[in-house]
Symmetry: C2
């Protein structure tokens, strides 16, 4: 049996739990792997198995969360214990699908005790560089879903590096929201209109500044660069923000209302690109000695220029993929495809145990 | 130590051996895996280790092959024994980078004895369906390099299926040579001229009919379909051939000379596509109940229509990637990138042992 502790049971966590319940019998048949939850946690409680969490209990947990309650509302919840005490003597897989930094140190402790980690949560990899290496040494932590969700990005990059290839340049469009906005501008929308629409349709985070600041993209860039072996310190990647500093601290409602204040600078960049026959994209560019995250003018024949709408796109130019890059493209967010990435990592890890 | 037997030391085999020698120390440090050859074979002899083939011996083998000799010319070569007798009591990885069917049955025997297999050679997977399942059950055989060389295709597909996704449609351009030819037609070349040029530049197989028959693409289509779980019998995938039957059996020289006989039918298809505002591509299309390999008219906004030149491109439309597919693109041939695919598979397998 492969014991799993899952931290977080929000959108991605619920999709993951449903996928695990659905495929567990096939995985048992196909690979002889018996995936079993031994604990599931949200921000308020942990349901620990006795010794494992039954399928029925998983369904109960899903029902409780879908009803909007905390796990502490379940009779058998533990609220005063840390999950690390629930780790078994055999090797377990700890899955972090929260969005907090709270578990970073315990995850590193679990790794040093020989356990394995799978992450959709980017934060544990964006702390001090030493924590990144502690988590990832000997391939103890898999984190495919942190960049591009279910798209093959991290595993591909590690495969290239492990086989002795050398990364010359990674160029990537890693924000579906910012991709959507750039396409809207190309279709004639103003910047404020595009953001209002994206916010109303739920394409942005509840606070759209979480997307527009580029902070989430900067975290992905940091993870990619560190995966390349570049020892980038925490917070060393700065992303270009698409709104002026005076809008950083106002309420969401006020921010939305004052969005036209962000209009001019973005539209100027957009018009300049268009006048030069180029396109404007919000991209990440990583080379061995530079990391950039922000708006960039690209010539029309650039691989990332062809991107429309919310797809992610990642282009690897390496010593072996030199004249023509390897390019991955597709939806880079969404709870189902993110859970797919996480579960693939869990299965790959379980096959090693 | 992870023992490796490598069958074939041609273009891909030599690139692989060089990559293994180069990365072995890093792999040892990074994953605690000690990759060691215990035997290397070509069509004429086997060099068996005592107990392992030293790095110096690997360099000797590379020098002998680069000089155009057979391994039987080396003093310690074995020519009268089968590699299966060299398999150790512990689990070994057998790597087939030949282009023969000869090892199919022994590979299946090795798998049933608990060993693992890694293939760049498509043929072992294109025999009877029972042999395919015997080789691939429990994930015993990895074969990423058989489709798209170093591009992530097979692993991605297996990841989708393992996590419970459902493939609705795979559309793919899997022949660099045929991609090159289609682009040449778009640039105004005649079909015969395009083939002559591709042949002269070494872009085709020595006998260009090996490309133009579509047989190699049909093998890739068969492997993709079987990986999807479709029990396709051997030879059940028929590819559209780009030359008429009367040219099938003549010499290569005569074939090249009589190529204008193939001109009319291809150019008619090309002109019809262009007149309809479409593009002509040689593609593979797999759905749960159909497999097609051949020329197809695609609308200009189809994901595969944007392809130019010899790149491969694979588009997965699934239940989860429904509105927008996952698309992989890049060079799908070449000895270095093929060896990258093979070595990634070897490392992934070794991490499981
Ligand atoms: N959604 C996507 O498309 C996507 C794509 C790639 C990566 N990701 C990443 O995946 C992670 C999860 O995303 P999501 O969309 O599922 O977020 P979400 O819906 O907000 O869910 C977060 C979950 O984490 C739980 N949580 C918060 N603090 C916790 C703590 N200290 N201990 C244990 N659990 C805690 C929350 O508990 P409560 O239920 O009690 O609030 C909730 O169940 C995030 O890091 C996100 O960046 C998401
Ligand atoms: N090249 C690519 O870009 C590419 C891409 C994807 C997949 N592949 C596949 O990778 C495989 C190798 O390709 P390649 O380009 O390296 O071919 P290659 O240069 O022709 O090399 C084939 C090797 O196999 C050896 N061989 C033939 N019969 C054998 C036998 N019965 N036992 C042991 N060894 C035998 C040959 O021996 P001799 O040296 O004695 O002739 C030679 O060393 C093929 O299946 C190919 O389809 C190639």
């Amino acid at each position: 049996m492969t014991p799993i502790i899952q931290l977080g049971i929000g959108g991605v966590g619920r999709a993951l739990a449903r996928q695990i319940v659905a495929v567990a019998p096939a995985i048992r048949r196909r690979y002889g792997i018996d995936l079993r939850y031994i604990a599931i946690a949200d921000s308020r409680g942990i349901i620990a198995g006795d010794p494992t969490v039954s399928e029925e209990q998983v369904h109960q947990i899903l029902a409780v969360k879908e009803a909007g309650h905390g796990l502490d509302s379940m009779t058998n919840a533990i609220t005063d214990r840390h999950w690390i005490e629930l780790l078994p003597a055999t090797i377990a897989i700890v899955v972090d699908v929260t969005a907090t930094s709270e578990h970073t140190a315990p995850l590193a402790a679990a790794v040093s005790a020989g356990h394995r980690v799978v992450l959709a949560n980017k934060r544990p990899l964006c702390d001090e560089y030493d924590l990144f290496t502690a988590l990832t040494e000997r391939g103890a932590t898999r984190y495919e879903a942190t960049v591009g969700a279910g798209l093959p990005v991290i595993g591909v990059l590690q495969g290239l590096l492990d086989t002795g290839d050398e990364v010359l340049r990674i160029e990537a469009a890693l924000s579906g929201t910012l991709g959507f906005l750039m396409s809207a501008l190309e279709e004639g929308s103003s910047f404020a209109e595009a953001v209002w629409k994206a916010h109303a349709l739920g394409y942005t985070e509840p606070d759209p500044r979480d997307d527009l600041s580029g902070a989430d993209v900067a975290r992905k860039a940091l993870i990619l660069a560190r995966t390349c072996g570049i020892p980038v310190p925490a917070d060393a990647v700065s992303a270009e923000s698409l709104f002026p500093p005076q809008l950083a601290t106002v309420s969401v409602a006020e921010f939305l209302q004052r969005l036209p204040e962000a209009e001019e600078s973005v539209m100027e960049r957009f018009a300049a690109a268009r006048a030069a026959g180029n396109v404007l994209r919000y991209i990440t560019c990583i080379t061995p000695d530079n990391i950039e995250v922000g708006l960039r003018e690209l010539p029309a024949d650039h691989p990332l220029a062809g991107l429309r709408g919310p797809d992610n796109m990642i282009s690897f130019t390496t010593r072996r993929y030199h004249d023509r890059p390897m390019v991955i493209r597709g939806p880079g967010a969404g709870v189902e495809v993110t859970a797919t990435g996480v579960l693939s990592d869990i299965i790959a890890t379980a096959r090693e145990l």
